[in-house]
């Protein structure tokens, strides 16, 4: 999977799971604000990413992933 395919798949699965339009998911957008994640729903994103991409995001690494761009980069290094 090249990076553009990865970005498309990330956007697609997140938009479907969290019921937002894909158009609001932009590289510089804040993940928590865009997907309206709170302390309880954050784990849903972590579980979804692990299930779809086989990448486990440790709790202490979440702070390094504030934007979608940082999520794409994080996954691209590990997929």
């Amino acid at each position: 999977m090249d990076k553009q395919e990865l970005i498309s798949k990330v956007n697609s699965v997140l938009a479907e799971e969290f019921e937002v339009e894909e158009s609001v998911i932009t590289p510089e957008a804040n993940i928590k604000q865009t997907l309206e994640l709170d302390s309880l729903s954050l784990v849903d994103m972590v579980a979804l990413i692990e299930n779809e991409f086989g990448v486990k995001i440790a709790s202490n690494e979440l702070v390094k992933i504030p934007t979608f761009q940082s999520l794409y980069d994080y996954l691209a290094e590990r997929v």
Binding site: S39, L40, L42, V43, D44, M45, V46, A47, L48, E50, N51, I57, S59, L62
Partner: protein, 143 residues
Amino acid sequence: MLKGEELYQLIPQRPPIVMVSEVRSVGEGCAQIGLQIEKDNIFVKDGKLQEAGIIEHIAQSAAAMEGYKSYVNQLPPKLGFIGEIKKCKIFFLPCVGTHLLTILTVLGEAAGVTLVQAKVEIEDSDKEPLVAECQMKIFIKNE
């Protein structure tokens, strides 16, 4: 395997609210927890374990799985809270005398919240062993 009063080292609940009767196995991100349904169980009505009892059993199973981590480190069990229950299906109410085996799988962890998938089955059942399934978010209170 842990059972009986040994379980008090894993969970903070005490009789008559204890809803697990054995911890059969605990692995990395998974566990198998059992419950023998006795007739004096406070969640039994008309000879069947009620929905609230099944949910409480799942919650205590998740707590026991987390409590096992404290147990192996010789620490007291931590308090856990149900944050959310979703995708919950209860297919039927199990009868007194049956033995439930609940299979837990951790789907993810973030910000102190653990998302667990639970499948509750009747052990050694030839037909329809699946009693219930759900996803539950557990928040463990760290002192």
